[in-house]
């Protein structure tokens, strides 16, 4: 029988944040109006009518945040799946086949890892196009070296493992050994941690780029078509515009605080979720 573990607060926090993201996305698709209407209540603090308050145009902040969710969920999940899938495949190839293949894959990863992620994204946006699909692919590729490195490292550590020798001695099928013992039992929590990491950072990079795009009029990558919803970065840019920098009118800071808080929760929640999964597996 399984022993009940004490609840890890980070694990609970991670689930809470994941649940919030999904709930907001579901609400966006099924419940919320297509447009966020401007209202008379500008820069309002939380109330029963506006759970998170409103921005300078009187738009409900919770609705604004929720409108970005489906795009983020699609972008983050696609990039995470692609990066982890590709990275795992390459890591298995590197760890289980000939040294020459291993060397080639490591070289490729070193080359890719020598570009900062945002620089690589901007390179692809310049050379190919600025669509969301291309950006997702570029971001996924930029995370592949990290996943490959981790899978390869775990495989090297597993080479001496006794349970694998025992399994082989019992004549367990090689394919089953790799898919079940190595991938499912051993690597699963680590791969989920990597996926959560990719998800968090892809959403963050997207928000940062759309913020900078709205701030400066520079290249806009992966933005919804005109008439579509505002991205988190664009909403942040409008929130940044209205703050009173002399700190006399603190009301003007509310929307920016809410958005910053939401992004922080999102990133820390996803990272904490991954970390706590690995901790649980190791304990």
């Amino acid at each position: 029988m399984r022993r009940a573990r004490p609840l890890d607060p980070w694990y609970a926090y991670g689930w809470l944040v994941l649940g919030t993201i999904v709930a907001l996305a579901v609400a966006e698709v099924f419940v919320l109006p297509a447009k966020t209407p401007a209202g008379p209540d500008t820069l309002a603090l939380p109330s029963a009518a506006h759970l998170l308050g409103t921005d300078a145009d009187g738009r409900d902040l919770l609705t604004l945040i929720a409108h970005g969710q489906p795009q983020y969920l699609a972008l983050g999940a696609t990039a995470a799946l692609l990066a982890v899938g590709l990275g795992t495949a390459l890591g298995l190839l590197a760890g289980l086949t000939r040294p020459a293949v291993d060397a080639a894959i490591r070289y490729g990863c070193d080359v890719l890892a020598s570009f900062p992620r945002i620089a690589f994204l901007l390179l692809v946006a310049t050379a190919v196009d600025t669509s969301l699909r291309t950006a997702t692919l570029a971001l996924a590729v930029s995370f592949v070296p990290a996943v490959t490195g981790e899978v390869r490292q775990q495989l090297v550590a597993l080479r001496q493992a006794e349970f694998l020798a025992a399994a082989r001695a019992h004549g367990i099928d090689w394919f089953r050994l790799v898919t079940y013992q190595i991938l499912w039992v051993h690597l699963r929590p680590r791969l989920i941690r990597q996926a959560a990491f990719v998800f968090a950072y892809v959403v963050l990079i997207d928000a940062a780029l759309s913020y900078i795009g709205s701030l400066t009029g520079y290249v806009r990558i992966g933005e919804p078509p005109p008439g579509g919803h505002h991205t988190l970065g664009q909403v942040m840019a409008t929130a940044r515009d209205v703050v009173d920098t002399s700190l006399e009118d603190l009301h003007t800071w509310w929307p920016l605080t809410v958005l910053a808080g939401y992004m922080t929760l999102l990133v820390t929640g996803l990272l904490a979720f991954g970390e706590s999964l690995v901790r649980r597996a190791e304990s």
């Binding site: 070289y107 901007l122 701030l215």
Partner: protein
């Protein structure tokens, strides 16, 4: 020829070859991606007549087959020659345009790196003085450090805006470096990693033996810590180099980030190639410095047949 000397030379040559190979690979990826790109920087200019566009395209060789373009660019870069910017007036040389931005970015990142290691080392020293303090540091850092760098940059810039001039000066650089040093979970990760390395170095056999014999083990401890800390510096430098690209712009600093965004929005492929080559040379260069430093400090690695540096 002395065989031992040759072997020593080879040990030092290996990181250099690795550096050159990685950089060459990175440059090839960039050049091939850019050369196969459809369209040019001139397509998006509405006021320029079609004949002039074609003339410009031909002058910069952008109408040639992709492998011709790629070969020409690689040949030039191998001679350390960068192209001419496509979007700046009077055909600014890319290297001349990038140099001031490069210096500014490097200054911000180095300052952030120094700040983060100082702060993290201080936090580790403080946390060692008892479990309550360790808990305090851990919770405090989790709260402060969890904010994403670009979000922190926007907020800190807004908070300081009343005190900062429109033209960036040293205060902007310090503020940006502080954001980089703390945010993105950077300081928290560094605190944990440094703490773990410190604990591991203290429990190595030779340090334990030296302490048990009543010797001051500081020298041993520092030498043991050198390799993992050198690795940490390189990893953190690479991460900061990515984060700085989104932190510079809210602070109005003219760095590689600014140039790269401008170049990308004008589809100035020559300038984008320049930025990427500069950035990956920095990342690979940091690895080279790390490898040389480790070879210089650890005589075991200099012995022939030593395992390859990981």
């Amino acid at each position: 020829m002395n065989l031992a000397l040759l072997r020593t030379g080879l040990v030092w040559l290996r990181p250099l070859l690795f550096f050159l190979a990685t950089l060459a690979g990175a440059v090839t990826v960039v050049v091939v991606l850019v050369s196969t790109s459809p369209g040019t920087a001139f397509d998006a200019l509405p006021s320029v007549p079609e004949a002039l566009k074609q003339e410009l395209t031909a002058r910069y060789g952008l109408d040639q087959a992709w492998y011709v373009q790629a070969g020409r660019r690689l040949w030039a870069l191998a001679h350390l020659e960068f192209d001419v910017s496509l979007s700046y007036r009077s055909g600014g040389r890319v290297a001349a345009l990038l140099w001031p931005a490069f210096q500014s970015t490097l200054l911000t990142v180095s300052l952030a790196l120094t700040l983060s290691f100082t702060l993290a080392a201080g936090a580790v020293a403080f946390a060692r003085r008892g479990p309550r303090r360790a808990g305090l540091v851990s919770v405090g850092l989790t709260l402060v450090s969890g904010v994403p760098a670009f979000v922190a940059a926007v907020i800190v810039q807004a908070l300081l805006a009343a005190h900062l001039d429109l033209v960036p000066d040293v205060r902007h650089v310090v503020a940006a470096a502080l954001v980089l040093a703390v945010a993105d979970g950077h300081l928290l990760d560094l605190f944990r990693q440094l703490g773990a390395e410190w604990a591991e170095a203290r429990s190595t056999d030779h340090v334990v033996a030296a302490r048990a014999n009543g010797l001051g083990a500081r020298r041993e401890l520092l030498r043991t810590l050198f390799a993992p800390v050198a690795q940490l510096v390189t990893t953190r430098f690479t991460l900061l180099l990515g984060a700085v690209l989104v932190v510079e712009i809210p602070f109005g600093l003219y760095g590689i980030g600014e140039v790269l965004y401008q170049a990308a929005s004008r589809r100035d492929t020559h300038l984008v190639v320049g930025c990427l080559v500069f950035l990956s040379a920095l990342v690979c260069g940091a690895g080279l410095v790390r490898d040389f430093a480790r070879l210089a400090v650890d005589p075991r690695l200099r012995r022939a047949g030593a395992p390859r540096l990981e």
